[in-house]
Amino acid sequence: MKIRLLAGLLVLGLAAGCGGAKVEDTPTSAASPPATGASGGGTVKIAINPWVGYEASANVVAHLLKNELGYTVELPEIKEQLAWEGFETGDVDVIIENWGHPDLKKKFIEEKKVAQEAGSTGNKGVIGWYIPKWMADEHPGITDYKNLNKYAHLFRTSESGGKGQLLFGDPSYVSNEDALIKNLKLDLKVVTGGSEAALIKAAQQAQEQKKPLLFYFWDPHWLFSKTELVRVNLPAYTEGCDADPKKVACDYAEMDLDKIVSTKFAQSGGKAYELVKNFSWTNEDQNAVADDMTNNGMTGEQAAKKWIEANPAKWQAWIPK
């Protein structure tokens, strides 16, 4: 039986032209041809990373690709770093909001050449540690990392094993937390909430019910307009202070969020690629769509449609001539 399988594979190998099979040879590409320059047709796969801001951007682009350019759009749920691997296997054409990842850029853009940068999204992103505002009011100096150990006992929970809890989000998020705690000698423990939703819920409860909370969060986010949060000041970011991930002892840098596409898509994506490249909006735009998706009971598609109807001037500039 094994022999027959091997024989079958061998035949397959011969049929494929005897060169051996590369990872890029995907059967997927045979069945659903990637986007072509022709008007309409073709499928664009935009990976969905697990935070609502990203989804907002992806949905707006997807809506335009579908309704203005006639493409089919797939939105597979793939986490940040796996999505980069998807460029190679053909599972992903576009990452619509990339947060830095210089190591992945080096590997997939420079070395493997399976991906390319496709310009800024216009969004400025910054990650940080936050506390609810009432804590900053009641505990002077708490926003300075040097005083965190003094207040660590406030953040203790049943999950944090005697130390103060630093609530983290999805396991796939960009993170220096462990290194920061170690290098700044903080009496804290990272507890993973598992999702953006867990962070939001905890933050809202913390401010409304005056519960202590220290958590990982990021801007742009709609939450800042609904719940008062204060950022904890870690040692200020300086160029290159985060070069070695194990030795990081500084705050996160403000990042210019950008778009990454697969090389294949950049070469044969036609108008779809042009649209992705032209896409650029502000943090306020993204927050408006994300807010509708989270708090106003709209699906990504509905929220995108609402924004598109309200802002024709902005998106018309992205549509390729």
Binding site: L12, V23, P27, Q81, A197, A198
Partner: protein
């Protein structure tokens, strides 16, 4: 065989409990004396992790040049991918009327009109739930995995059925495959096949193949030797005998193998979405990462419906081959004709209806669930907040955290000694040494601390499962009425893929370790309840009568007669409960479970943690084998009561 039994002949005055009690005291003293020393704290940069991460980088760099990948692995990936794409293409091309008609036709042909209607209603439900596309993707992935499993599993099973030597060689391998929690399969898949549908299909196949091999081997083995002899004496060749005697006689049991393979594949296929395979799991993961039960519930329901439809249809086929269990209504030709008409009607509809209507399930026919479901969840959250919070906090602070503290702060050699003694007492020397070996391997992998945390969760969950199992099992054994109500619920619960249990747990408790424990308790309870009920029922009526005649109250009857005599079943229930609980506790990492399961998830999420995730997968397997070996003696240990009554 217990310690007490061994030592009692020399010192007849020592009571039975003295040795275990002495051991407990000894361990307590040793713990207090050595606490905090020789612990093995977790380190993200442990040598094995780094080595595996480097291996992965090597594979990554060489997968387009190394001959093993170029000529074997990548072709397997292509082949599997091709099967999946073809199958998915065909299913999508059928359109929803075609696919629903076809499923109904298959049901009708195998099991009669009722099964056919179930197929139609079930598949239509995918559309009504609003998850048609994902359901078809999942169906294609399950189909690919099942085809591959059967293509390799059935021949292997036939071979194993005729060769006891092969069966002996396969048995331990299949054992390990069945103890292995689903999570552990994923990392090696990523290593060899990258992410996506092919990797998902192969992972699902590995998980689903053991029943295909086992049941087929059993079926072939059970073919009556007389029939085989008759055939050989008539001069038939081996091949002829196999084809004309073995296979026809084993057919009904082999259909059962198909059924079990499909069921296993269904419970794995959702987890395969963690490595970006398409399908319903994607919706469930999306729901988990948004903490949105409204997104998850339709997908979860669709999986359950799919399981029920496929289960009933294949079971009907198995029964038909066996020729018992009530012939389906109507003679054969009406069933086949009806089926043909139904399939034809479906496919015709696909091509006759306007393309816009067939392109996807019409949006107007979708039952909008997300809103009401989320409202209900919010209501439950706010209404029961105090209750759920206090249950969670009390369990965490009073039971879970102290136990975790105990296991992580005890020296590793003390824990190892405890495991050795416990396994030796419960199962004998050989399993004890295996258990010890597994534990030491975990330490060498650099995952001691996280394994201890997971272990503490498993222990708490198993105790809870046994508690629930005893109460419900005894109640069912004593009341025919209760048993009759409970049985269909247990049936349904056992058909459901494990993932589904995370939903209610998450809705009630939010993401914490307790949530994972809660989910594993509901997951593992049904088989435990069953075993307990069976054990209590099996107590001979004469014994019960005698006890009642001697004036036992119902309580005494239970404590002194029924439970002691059901001891074996209860221990077997514990063994089953532990293996199931481990699988679920690990999966609970998706709802805040932490520890080993989280390491696995993190290994997929962050490239630098790949090694840790991979090692954690191995550690989970080792932990599973260890727990199984500690408790496996349950069904072999002679019970004093049994000896008395034989």
């Amino acid at each position: 065989m217990s310690v007490a039994a061994v030592s009692s002949p020399s010192r007849p005055h020592l009571p039975r409990w003295a040795a275990p009690a002495g051991a407990v005291v000894l361990f307590a003293v040793a713990y207090l004396a050595f606490r905090g020393t020789a612990t093995l704290p977790h380190d993200d940069e442990a040598a094995p992790f780094v080595a595996i991460t480097e291996l992965r980088e090597w594979v990554d760099a060489n997968k387009n040049s190394n001959p093993l990948f170029l000529y074997v692995v990548n072709y397997v990936r292509l082949l599997v991918g091709w099967i999946h794409v073809t199958l998915a293409g065909a299913l999508h091309a059928l359109g929803w009327p075609g696919l629903i008609g076809l499923m109904g036709a298959v049901g009708w042909a195998t099991g009669g009109l009722r099964v056919g209607l179930l197929g139609v209603a079930g598949f239509a439900a995918f559309g009504v739930l609003g998850v048609w596309e994902s359901s078809v993707d999942t169906l294609a992935l399950v189909g690919t995995a099942v085809l591959l499993s059967l293509a390799t599993g059935l021949p292997l099973g036939v071979w194993a059925g005729r060769s006891p030597r092969l069966r002996r060689a396969l048995n331990p391998v299949l054992d390990v495959m069945q103890i292995m929690p689903t999570f552990a399969y994923l990392a090696p898949m990523v290593l060899f096949f990258q992410i996506g549908a092919p990797a998902g299909a192969v992972a699902t196949m590995i998980y689903a193949i053991p029943p295909a091999i086992r049941i087929t081997a059993l079926a072939i083995d059970q073919v009556s030797p007389a029939a085989v002899e008759a055939s050989t004496s008539l001069g038939a060749t081996r091949w002829h005998t196999l084809r004309k005697v073995h296979l026809p006689l084993a057919r009904s049991t082999m259909t059962l193998a198909v059924n079990q393979t499909i069921m296993m594949a269904l419970s794995m296929v959702v987890i395969a979405n963690l490595i970006s395979a398409p399908g319903l799991g994607s919706d469930i993961i999306r729901g988990l990462s948004r903490q949105n039960v409204g997104i998850m519930l339709p997908a979860g329901l669709a999986i359950v419906v799919m399981a029920v439809v496929l289960d009933r249809t294949t079971m009907a086929a198995a029964r038909r081959h066996r020729g018992d269990g009530g012939q389906p209504a109507g003679p054969r030709w009406t069933r086949v004709a009806g089926a043909a008409v139904l399939a034809g009607a479906g496919v015709t509809l696909t091509y006759a209806l306007p393309a816009a209507l067939v392109a996807g399930w019409p949006a107007g026919w979708v039952l909008p669930m997300a809103g009401p479901v989320n409202d209900a969840v919010r209501w439950a959250e706010t209404t029961w907040y105090d209750v759920t919070e206090s249950v969670k906090n009390v369990t965490s602070e009073v039971v879970l955290n102290p136990l975790q503290e105990l296991l992580t702060s005890a020296p590793w050699w003390l824990v190892a000694a405890a495991v050795l003694l416990l396994a030796r007492w419960a199962s004998g020397w050989r399993p004890a040494l295996t258990a010890l070996g597994c534990l030491l391997a975990i330490a060498l992998l650099g995952l001691w601390e996280h394994s201890m945390v997971t272990l503490s969760m498993v222990v708490v969950a198993v105790l809870a499962v046994l508690g629930v199992g005893l109460v419900l099992g005894v109640a069912a054994a004593r009341s025919a009425w209760f048993s009759a109500v409970q049985r269909p619920l247990l049936d349904a619960a056992q058909t459901m893929p494990s993932f589904v249990y995370l939903l209610p747990a998450l809705a009630l408790f939010g993401p914490t370790k307790f949530t994972a424990i809660f989910a594993s308790v509901i997951y593992a309870a049904p088989p435990v309840v069953r075993l307990v009920e069976e054990g209590v029922r099996k107590v001979p009526p004469a014994v019960v009568e005698a006890a009642v005649a001697a004036g036992s109250t119902p309580g005494q009857l239970l404590r002194k007669v029924q439970l002691p005599m059901a001891r074996e079943s209860i221990l077997l229930a514990a063994n089953q409960g532990i293996v199931l609980t481990l699988a679920m506790v690990v999966l609970g990492a998706l709802v805040g479970g932490g520890a080993l399961g989280y390491d696995v998830v993190s290994g997929f999420s962050q490239r630098t943690n790949f090694g840790m995730g991979f090692a954690a997968g191995v550690a989970i397997v080792l932990l599973g084998i260890m727990l199984d070996r500690i408790t496996q003696g349950a069904d072999r240990r002679p019970s004093p009561h049994r000896r008395m009554f034989r």
